[in-house]
Amino acid sequence: MGTRVGDWIDQRSGWRDSWNRVFLARIPNISWGHTLGAATLMAVVILLITGLALTFYYVSSPTDAHQSVQYITNVVPLGWLIRGLHHWAASALVVLSVAHLIRVVIHGAYKYPREFTWFTGIALLLLVFGFGLTGSLLPWDQRAYWATEVRIEVFATVPFIGDWLARFLQGGDQLSSLTLSRFYSAHVWLFPLLLFGLVAVHLRLVLRHGISARPKEEPRRDEEPRKREEASLL
């Protein structure tokens, strides 16, 4: 039954080709470090699902924001779990993204022909920081308010455009309901849309180029003459 429905859809969509290309791809000898990209993507999926759920109750107005978060945490069934998952998956995403980046650097996987994959990855990392900046204001408690205040002060120190940038982020000359509103909009609309696009390109490129093999450890050919030369100098 399952295969018959699958065949019927496959004849009309060719989904099996795509499926096989992703899940039955031939891969080189890889390490646990190679799973960090997929782990990062998993954190993104968890954040998407829990984030979508949170918008069912969250209200981004200064009079309601904090109370709606309290309502989510204390009243809505499993609200503590959904909010907790969103909170901790956000932290995990930052850690996993950076670990993934380090793995790519150590294996030299950013080199030709994968430079563009690397660029989209860096853009994604910046986007993750953007999510963190905008998301941490949304609970609208003391910590959220003052942490954001400090971050905006940091942006204000950028040479030449600092003042303009700080005003742009705040939506005015101080942190206010306008800031909350635009951070919310960026957090749930602008950034997720950019994220979808960039993740799509990033994954498409990973499929196109395949997984990079680990660099081989070969002795340098000029090793012996150099050693002899060093010995003679001593």
């Binding site: 968890i46 979508l52 759920a53 069912f56 309601d64 499993l78 609200g79 779990l81 959904i82 998952l85």
Partner: protein, 160 residues
């Protein structure tokens, strides 16, 4: 028993774990989104006035402001109720909300010669008799009643 190739076994294991993770995430998200939406709560007792305020001859429409907690917000709402009484001691309180699609009904002394007095809903010509029973139109059930009590000469109602 048919032998299961290693490749198929692993594929099934991976599929099973993936399904488990999806359920672990999807079910709590579903429970969260449904949330308290299905909770049924009885209202608080609302004072409508003294027993003398209600005439014996026909139902009187009376409104009261009720503070209702919706989520984290306490909303001031208007509660409109038709109160009728035959002897000034036993009271019937009926919601003025039509049971068809929720329009507000009004009391009419004579809807037509056959029906006599009753409640009329202008949206789809629903007709209730003066006790709230179904007479004509697309109405599925009689007007909803509220619980009543009299304490120290004052009439209270409560939404069920």
């Amino acid at each position: 028993m048919r032998e299961l190739p290693r490749r198929d076994f692993l594929a099934r294991m991976v599929g099973g774990v993936a399904g488990g993770v999806a359920a672990l995430l999807g079910i709590p998200a579903g429970v969260f989104v449904i949330g308290p939406s299905q909770e049924r709560r009885t209202g608080d007792w609302v004072a409508l006035g003294t027993v003398d305020d209600f005439p014996l001859e026909k139902p009187r429409l009376i409104s009261a402001t009720v503070a209702k907690q919706q989520g984290w917000v306490v909303e001031e709402q208007e509660l409109s109720v038709f109160v009728s009484t035959e002897d000034g001691t036993e009271f019937v309180a009926m919601s003025d909300k039509c049971t068809h699609l929720g329009c507000r009904v009004r009391y009419v002394d004579e809807i037509d010669e056959a029906a006599g007095p009753g409640f009329f809903c202008p949206c789809h010509n629903g007709v209730f008799d003066s006790e709230g029973g179904v007479v004509a139109g697309p109405i599925p059930r009689p007007l909803d009643r509220l619980e009543t009590k009299v304490e120290e000469g004052r009439l209270f109602v409560r939404e069920l």
